[in-house]
Amino acid sequence: MLSWLPYAVAGWIFLVGAYGLATSRHLVHTVVCLNVVQSSTYLLLLALGWTRDGTAPIFADIGRKRAVADPVVQAMTLTDIVVGAAVTALLLALTIQVAKRRGNLDPHRLRSLEQESEE
């Protein structure tokens, strides 16, 4: 029952983030929207790895026969999160530089890198 719900939520988070990206009027907001989009991939991966009645794939205190969630997709989610953090840091640093050089963070008023923005 409702076995498609995790996928639907992941899709919803992706669409909401993409809507935010398209309508963003501030570059910091754009970066946060990109984070929202990316978090949908975490949920999708973890939903794929979930096993009914399974527990965490940590065998320090459970037997080998116990049903567990798929550790492969969980490791991929870890990679995903780390890369996401790296991308966010770089994008925010670029945003600070844009604010310094252009004094303006509305993506629609920023044209090419060297051309002055129009009013």
């Binding site: 996928y7 940590i58 320090a60 567990v68 969630a69 990679t79 780390v82």
Partner: protein, 251 residues
């Protein structure tokens, strides 16, 4: 005009994507009913190498080479951020009065910051060195360690934080962490097993000294990630506090 065009294009694209996503989900097996051929093999491999935390076994043992790439991405991003946010000579010369951070923080926040600083560092270290036994590992623990350091900023001010991170120490730690990961990989080559092979004795599952090279790699990653976060957040704090804000409001 341009904004409307962007919205129109994005709307059409998202609509098509939503339709296709619904079709794709319809064809997927329900969550929880998917067979996990790779998962069960990964669990078996984790038991072979006595790694209680199967996720860490995948990350650092079975996919150790991928994690090397991931770690180098993080290193490159940290270097890039530090480079982008360096203080330009013009900014450094502008000797305007600047604030040193939270002056109007509640006393309770300060107290909790002081109390939590050692606790957070301890928990961070615990998460790093127990990564092969319990949930956690170098990435998670390194982040906790770095955030512990910034409690000093909340509890005191920027100068206290500066004393906690002497210049050069974290730059060196960052590089050394990345180097140690590669060095452990090369040690596998020298032992005759292969690059990043888990060649050390595996010990017994659940014992602190088990899982071969996995705990060592976790410590290397913990140092690298912690240093990277300290460097990056420090650069953002520099920008917020020390660089004079004479950005014109309108372009």
């Amino acid at each position: 005009m341009r904004r409307r065009l962007v919205l129109l294009l994005a709307g059409a694209g998202l609509l098509a994507l939503a339709v296709e996503a619904v079709r794709a989900v319809g064809a997927l097996p329900g969550a929880g009913e998917v067979p996990h051929p790779y998962g069960s093999r990964a669990v078996a491999a984790a038991f072979d190498h006595a790694t209680a935390n199967a996720v860490m076994s995948v990350t650092l043992d079975q996919r150790g080479f991928d994690t090397l790439g991931e770690e180098l991405i993080l290193l490159a991003a940290a270097v890039g951020t530090v480079l982008l946010l360096r203080r330009l000579t013009a900014e450094a010369e502008a000797d305007t009065p600047h604030s040193y951070g939270p002056e109007d923080v509640f006393e309770a926040v300060r107290l909790i910051g002081y109390l939590l600083l050692p606790v957070t560092l301890l928990v961070g270290g615990y998460i790093v060195v127990h990564g092969h036994l319990t949930p956690g590992g170098g990435f998670q623990g390194g982040t906790v360690l770095a955030s512990g350091l910034f409690l000093a900023y909340l509890a005191a001010d920027y100068r206290a934080l500066d004393r906690l991170r002497p210049p050069g120490l974290f730059d060196t730690a960052e590089g050394l962490g990345a180097f140690a990961y590669v060095a452990i990989g090369v040690s596998g080559l020298l032992s005759g097993s292969g690059f990043l092979a888990d060649w050390l004795p595996h010990g017994t599952l659940g014992h602190p000294l088990s899982a071969g090279t996995v705990p060592l790699l976790n410590v290397a990653i913990g140092v690298e990630v912690g240093a990277a976060f300290v460097l990056v957040v420090a650069k953002f704090l520099d920008q917020a506090l020390l660089v004079p804000q004479d950005v014109p409001e309108e372009g």
